[in-house]
């Protein structure tokens, strides 16, 4: 049998408290398109970062072989030299530079430091033909659409004599035509001998293009399937992607959702003029009193944008449709108005968007509702301390004092501070965006208990989550989003990991 062009053997990579990759084995044949699939957090991106040298040799255990030769990359430059080219989801182009400048950025064609522009443009032209992009190489990248920028990026990587081209979700931001073009290009490159590794959430894409598929789950290789032997099918992929054991880590529930809708969206559509595409289209959802509604979907499906657009924080977007809150049609221009009307949104990114890290627990908890503690704009310090102490106790926030800067707390306790802040605005509808991301099991359980307590008291919760067991364990009803549309609504009795994943990968 021919030596594989790439072999990764027994790769294990640990972060503090998490084993992101656990004995992963991954083998790619010369000249094939190899797709890597798995849920959010399955370890796909981490594996590619190990391969490209972002995590240098020594920070992981295991072996990387290219053409049978062991490799020890201490940085991206090493992996590039070995013939690995990677294209990330976020494009790495300089918008203000021209296409040809971008293609040779960092590898300028020069003699003694002087750039040979004629040769640069000449070769850039050839690269552009190779990726079938007909634009003037002197065009600024800023003036190209996302699809064309993607092709420039590929031209850039190809100009460095890559043997293995890695693409991380290349079609996530593309419309259908551009996606189809890109896939055709990949087929062509394969036929010219370039090996491709493609990470994708879109199973249809995977089915149409893959020669081989490797499925990762929870940092482990689940299986490698050969398309030419007929092993690859949608059912087979979904089964292997999800099949996670649901251990009983969810508190028992005793609540019964009411019938009256607290929050409803009618034909909610969000358009991003800058990107020239729809973020959300014709979304119709409903959250009833005392109900936990799960909003499942993969990353980039538009879940966070849905929450933010409802909450009055959607700068630069054009929104149409109706938002009904507690039986009244509303429209929020700023989160301030949404909060005043009884909504709260706990961000998925607590450090960047949830907390003021350099301030203490007390200041963070009261931030969104300081006016309730003030008379004539002057804060009643005693009342503030009491409120903060109350939430510290009821949420079991582990901190020496409420005067501790939140930057010093653990992830779970930071999340509890975020929750405390939003509970203090006393909302009727609480939107939780990945409420348990990156926190330990104990704190997770406490947050689940809290959610149950809140809905028993009549609050309504919309929970955005990428963790299917969490969605299934906590929700009364589940919506699945994909490509900015609601792909289905599942009562909890019929929902399963397979069913949700089937809808989530349906583009």
């Amino acid at each position: 049998m021919e030596t594989p062009i790439l072999e990764m053997r027994q790769i294990t990579k640990e972060f503090p408290g998490v084993r992101a990759l656990d004995n992963v084995t991954f083998s790619v044949k010369r000249g094939e398109i190899h797709c890597l699939v798995g849920e959010n957090g399955a370890g796909k991106s981490t594996l590619m970062k190990v391969l490209s040298g972002v995590y240098p040799y020594g920070t992981y255990s295991g072996e990387i072989l290219i053409d049978g030769q062991p490799q020890r990359f201490s940085g991206i430059a090493d992996s590039e030299r070995a013939g690995i080219g990677i294209i990330y989801q976020e494009l790495a182009l300089v918008p203000e530079m021209t296409v040809y400048e971008n293609i040779f950025l960092g590898h300028e064609i020069n003699r003694n430091g002087l750039i040979d522009w004629n040769e640069t443009i000449h070769r850039a032209d050839a690269m552009l033909r190779k990726v079938r992009l007909t634009v003037n190489p002197a065009t600024k990248v800023r003036d190209l659409g996302v699809g064309k920028q993607q092709l420039v990026e590929i031209a850039k990587v190809l100009s460095r004599n890559v043997k293995i081209l890695i693409l991380d979700e290349p079609t996530a931001a593309l419309n259908e035509d551009d996606s189809e073009n890109l896939l055709n290009l990949l087929r062509e490159l394969r036929d010219h001998g370039v090996t491709c590794i493609l990470i994708s959430h879109k199973l249809k894409e995977v089915l149409s293009i893959a020669d081989t598929v490797t499925v990762l789950r929870d940092g482990k290789t689940v299986c490698t399937l050969d398309a030419h032997k007929g092993e690859v099918s949608e059912q087979a992929l979904i089964r292997n992607m999800v099949g996670r054991e649901i251990t009983n880590i969810y508190p028992p529930r005793s609540h019964r959702p009411g019938a009256d809708p607290m929050l409803a969206l009618r034909n909610w559509t969000v358009y991003a003029p800058e990107l020239g595409r729809y973020i959300l289209r014709d979304v119709n959802i409903e959250v009833r009193r005392g109900e936990i509604v799960g909003l499942a979907g993969l990353m980039g499906a538009g879940r966070t944008e849905l929450a933010l657009s409802m909450f009055g924080n959607a700068p630069g977007y054009r929104i149409s449709g109706e938002l009904w809150l507690k039986g009244k049609q509303r429209w929020f221009r700023h989160p301030q108005e949404a909060i005043a009307a009884g909504m709260a949104y706990v961000s998925e990114d607590r450090k960047a968007k949830g907390l003021v890290l350099i301030q203490d627990v007390r200041q963070n908890i009261t931030l969104a509702n300081l006016r309730a503690l003030a008379r004539n704009g002057i804060i009643d310090r005693n009342a503030e301390i009491q409120v903060a102490e109350e939430y510290r106790r009821s949420l079991n926030i582990k901190t020496p004092t409420i005067e501790q800067q939140v930057v010093n707390l653990s992830g779970g306790n930071q999340q509890k501070v975020c929750l405390g802040k939003w509970l203090f605005v006393r909302p009727d509808v609480l939107i939780l965006d990945e409420p348990t991301r990156g926190i330990d099991v104990g704190a997770k359980y406490e947050i689940y208990q809290l959610m149950n307590r809140l809905v028993e008291d009549g609050m309504s919760i919309l929970m955005i989550s990428s963790e299917l067991p969490e969605v299934l364990g906590m929700s009364d009803r589940v919506y699945v989003v994909s490509g900015g549309r609601i792909k289905g609504e599942l009562p909890i009795e019929v929902a399963s990991q397979e069913k949700i994943m089937e809808l989530a990968v349906d583009y």
């Binding site: 924080n313 960047a352 968007k353 003021v356 300081l370 003030a374 704009g377 800067q405």
Partner: protein
């Protein structure tokens, strides 16, 4: 012996934990002692210190406003010439329009506030960097200042009420407590010490009631004695030379108001939250735009006050008034511990920073040091203060 060892240990620990907070006070103290020695005591004389504080006035009020601007991650370069321009407007209003001081001062303050809103407009609405927006203001107000003083050159102000703002002193009581000393100033000093001790004890008791960490009793006493002595000394020195000046009263009032707003009010908390994490603040229902307008408007108003203080001090408006004020104010704020990363810094620190900055100038002038060396020393002090600040902050976080 044991109690003494304990005291020293407490002292070491307290200083170690609060080095950032007390560092500026200590630096100011050290600078003053050094200059007192090198100038054979002239520096510490009542007359010199009184002058020094009056000279600090127009930089100090700018530094207070600049602190908040830097806290919300912006900068305002326009305030120097804005102060100069508005000082000239005040002079023209007094001299040529014959308006009384009582009308001119509020009018100019309002104009300053409006100018601040104007600077904030492109920053808040179009996200134009404040460096650029305020640089445009710097150019515009410089031109405006030259324009309004073009016909007349320096405008002499003859209004004595107005000139008293920068040169006058508060009246004395008809009684004499200590011959040669200003009685009311001494009295105010005593009241300030009493109020300080009272509020410190009250706040400590409150913290104790909540089981919060407080200073050990001996350290607390030391702090009370130290700061009371400082206040007392200040009052004593001022009382030895004409008493409190109106400039000082104005600066104290401004500091008191801003200290109160930043520490006790919703608005103050919102300003620091916007500085600490604008995205989190926005999602928490705070309008970052509104805060930007408010902070720049306050900056503009304080620039107007600075212009009034300066024009009044010189009893005239000159064609170059306000030159480099903005950079002095920025330097004072940074020496006082404000952080460009946003969300950190307080007005008391910036006032101390301004005092450090002006003390350096005054002391070196008395020593007859060449202006060229003065700039170099000021530069070194600025960079030393910022390095000290950054390293102690890092250590504070690690610990």
């Amino acid at each position: 012996m044991a109690t003494q060892a304990m005291f020293l240990k407490n002292l070491q620990r307290t200083l170690g934990q609060n080095i950032r907070q007390y560092g500026m006070f200590i630096a100011l103290f050290v600078i003053m002692i050094i200059f007192s020695i090198t100038t054979n005591g002239i520096f510490i004389s009542s007359r010199n210190l009184s002058n020094l504080i009056n000279q600090t006035g127009y930089i100090a009020v700018l530094a207070v406003g600049m602190t908040l601007v830097i806290v919300i991650r912006h900068i305002d370069l326009s305030v120097g010439f804005l102060a100069g321009f508005l000082g000239a407007v005040a002079a023209i209003a007094l001299r040529f329009w014959d308006l009384p001081t009582i009308v001119v001062v509020p009018m100019v303050l309002v104009m300053g506030g409006l100018a601040g809103l104007l600077t904030a407009l492109p920053v808040a609405e179009l996200k134009i960097p404040s460096f650029v927006a305020s640089l445009a203001g710097w150019l515009i107000y410089r031109g405006a200042l030259q324009l309004v003083t073009a016909g007349t050159g320096t405008i002499i102000i003859e209004d004595e009420t107005f000139n008293a703002i920068g040169n006058g002193f508060i009246p004395d009581l008809p009684v004499t407590l200590i011959p040669g000393y200003h009685t009311l100033t001494l009295l105010l000093g005593a009241i300030a010490i009493g109020a300080f001790i009272f509020s410190e004890i009250r706040s400590r008791n409150k913290k104790l009631a909540y089981n919060f960490e407080v200073l050990p009793a001996d350290m607390f006493a030391l702090k009370l004695i130290f700061i009371s002595t400082l206040i007392g000394l200040l009052a004593w020195i001022m009382a030895g030379y004409n008493g409190l000046s109106w400039t000082m009263v104005i600066v104290l009032v401004v500091v008191a108001i801003y200290h109160f707003i930043t520490t006790q009010t919703v608005l103050g908390r919102h300003i620091y939250a916007v500085g600490g994490n604008p995205e989190a603040a926005e999602l928490s229902g705070i309008s970052v735009k509104r805060i930007t307008y408010i902070v720049f408007a306050s900056m503009g108003m304080l620039a107007a006050l600075s212009g009034i203080l300066f024009a009044s001090r010189l009893r005239s408006a000159t064609t170059t008034a306000g030159t480099l004020f903005e950079l002095d104010a920025i330097a004072a704020a940074y020496i006082g511990g404000v952080s460009a990363a946003g969300g950190v810094g307080n007005v008391i620190g910036s006032i101390i920073g301004a005092l450090v900055y002006v003390s350096l100038t005054s002391g070196m002038n008395l020593m007859g040091i060449d202006i060229a060396y003065q700039y170099i020393v000021r530069g070194l002090v600025l960079v030393a203060a910022v390095i000290f600040d950054v390293t102690t902050r890092r250590r504070g976080r690690a610990g």
